[in-house]
């Protein structure tokens, strides 16, 4: 499989990374080189093989429903580029 400019444009948009039109061509080339190499996987017979999502063969641990955190609004916004009255302040969102 190979990607075209539109696919690269779309991936960049989905990933919220600005890529100027002038960069798309070389990006597509880079991605295609990598994807072409990745295509090696097509020769593996994976019929009926379970997918491995974790290297730990355990099940999910559960915690008790107790309040053990929070109450640190100052720490939460301490590194914010912009904050006011304990809120994060972000560019205007139009719903």
């Amino acid at each position: 499989m190979s990607v075209d400019l539109q696919t690269v444009r779309r991936a960049a948009r989905l990933a919220r990374i600005y890529e100027p039109e002038s960069r798309l061509e070389s990006l597509a080339r880079e991605l295609n080189a990598i994807l072409g190499w990745i295509d090696l996987l097509e020769e593996v017979d994976v019929e009926g093989v379970e997918a491995m999502t974790s290297a730990v063969e355990l099940t999910l641990p559960l915690r008790d429903d107790v309040i053990s955190d929070g109450g640190q609004a100052k720490a939460i916004v301490a590194n914010a580029p912009q904050s006011a009255d304990g809120f994060f302040v972000v560019p205007k969102v139009v719903e």
Partner: protein, 492 residues
């Protein structure tokens, strides 16, 4: 007398116990060395000399009261991937700006609990994506080693834990924390003549460690000796209820395993690790390693890991996919740098375009693409299934052997800029290391010889899940046999 900074971790510990010197003296020696050398090697991106002295003083005070932790008074360097409370943490990415955590990672908290001293934060590839430390926002780390015939060519220390490896090799800390997603501990260890150990996935907590690819990221030490790596590993590991993938197990006495010996062990040698174009010296070293182990009573068995060649392509789907999602939180909204823009979308796109370097962007785009509608099955799901087959290869091998012996990397340290033009050439660095990450297995790299250019070469030992003790025993045996004691010439 040996300079304090040249001591191994265990020798420094003994010296502190014997009151040959104090933690303050030891720490001051490192602070001085860092101040002198770091501008040249660029191993540290943040130094904390004052904090180090405070911690050393506190440690000496504890020692006077008889409260002595396993790492009491020992100065360490910390990869800039670990969140450290009140100390800037950036994963060497512009997007984190001056991010200063209000919290401490579990691994580093364990070190401070055990008495260690923080010297500073170590350089790395941006978000641990890279094998040469060239993707750092703070610029590359210079390998303390040089080719003997061309002293003016700067080499990379490998990556992503290039700062950790270089700092240990150049005596800028006793030992360092590092992290390994595809080989980021072991390959730089091999490039710098140091020991690097990646434990079983789940041994060390990922809480507070900036994520790259969650299903493979694992903390581990880079140190001067196998024993030092075992000591540091023992403090780093342990169950953490804040990490759902953390293993609820007691931490074994890793250091005790180092001298356990290899008599009666079966050591597997995977034929698929003989790759085209691998230098003869590495092939020779590998055989030398087999002989060393045989001489100590181990048996060498040939094994096959037939899906080895699919490991890197598999990794380059799984890791970018996870990274594309893990790095979504770096959006300029709650922390880090925010770029200007007229609309919310523009702010997002500009913050991330300006905040991430090219390699990180490339991987985010690949990860975004392989997870997107219509491609998920062909790429991501297929890769996860191939991953199962890779893990199964190892399970088969454990039927006939106790550990695997391989080279760590297919070549020695290379020059800065030599491989950065072609991403795939760079990715091939991890060809021998990435399988252990995919399967979640423990693996150690230790220096075993020098090549014709005078550069260190490493051997890797991979073990069964949870069996760090065996790889430490094999590593300890190889270390003793190799008698590797070369150090980089102090050209700085």
């Amino acid at each position: 007398m040996t300079e304090l900074t040249e001591l191994t971790l265990s020798a420094a510990r003994d010296g502190l116990v014997a009151k040959a010197f104090s933690s303050v003296e030891l720490t001051a020696a490192f602070n001085d060395a860092i101040e002198a050398v770091n501008p040249i090697l660029n191993a540290y991106v943040t130094t904390t000399p004052q904090k180090a002295m405070e911690m050393a003083e506190a440690s000496d005070a504890r020692r006077r009261c008889g409260a002595v932790g396993p790492l009491e008074g020992l100065p360490l360097g910390i990869k800039d991937l670990y969140c450290t409370q009140g100390v800037r943490t950036t994963a060497c990415s512009r997007i984190l700006g001056e991010f200063t955590p209000t919290y401490e990672s579990t691994v580093t908290a364990n070190l401070w609990r055990d008495g260690a001293v923080l010297l500073g934060k170590l350089n790395m590839d941006e978000f641990a994506m890279g094998s040469s430390n060239e993707t750092s926002r703070f610029g590359p780390v210079i390998n303390p080693w040089k080719r003997q015939e061309s002293g003016n060519v700067a080499l990379t220390p490998g990556g992503s834990s290039g700062g950790s490896a270089a700092a240990v090799a150049a005596d800028l800390c006793l030992a360092a924390t590092a992290s390994d997603t595809g080989g980021s501990i072991r390959q730089p260890a091999a490039f710098t003549g140091t020991v690097g150990l990646k434990p079983t996935y789940g041994r060390a907590s990922r809480y507070g460690m900036i994520a790259f690819a969650s299903s493979m990221d694992q903390a581990g030490p880079i140190a001067k000796t196998v024993e030092d790596s075992a000591i540091l590993l023992g403090s780093m590991c342990g169950h953490d209820p804040r990490d759902s993938t953390s293993l609820s197990l007691e931490v074994p006495d890793f250091a005790a395993a180092v001298k356990r010996g290899v008599k009666g062990l079966k050591i597997g040698v995977p034929k698929e690790y003989r790759v085209d174009g691998m230098p003869d010296e590495i092939e020779k070293l590998w055989h030398q390693g087999m002989t060393w182990l045989q001489d100590l009573g181990a048996t060498i068995v040939d094994v096959s890991l037939p899906h080895t060649k699919y490991a890197l392509p598999c990794y380059y789907i799984v890791a970018p996919a996870e990274a594309s999602s893990n790095l979504a939180r770096y959006d300029g909204m709650r922390f880090g740098t925010r770029a200007a823009g007229d609309t919310l979308t523009e702010v997002y796109e500009q913050s991330r375009a300006q905040g991430f370097g090219n390699e990180v962007k490339r991987r985010i785009l690949i990860g975004t693409y392989v997870l997107s509608a219509g491609y998920y099955d062909a790429y991501y799901l297929r890769a996860q299934r191939v991953r199962t087959k890779i893990a199964d290869d190892f399970k088969q091998a454990w039927q006939v052997c106790d550990a695997l012996l391989t080279p760590t990397a297919p070549f020695a340290a290379f020059g800065i800029g030599e491989k950065s033009a072609d991403p795939i050439q760079m990715y091939l660095n991890d060809v021998f290391t990435v399988t252990a990450n995919l399967a979640g297995l423990p693996a150690i790299s230790l220096p075993a010889s020098l090549d014709a250019h005078g550069l260190p070469l490493g051997l890797q030992v991979i073990g069964r899940a949870l069996d760090e003790e065996t790889i430490l025993a094999v590593g300890g045996a190889l270390e003793a046999q190799a008698g590797f004691n070369a150090k980089p010439k102090k050209w700085w």
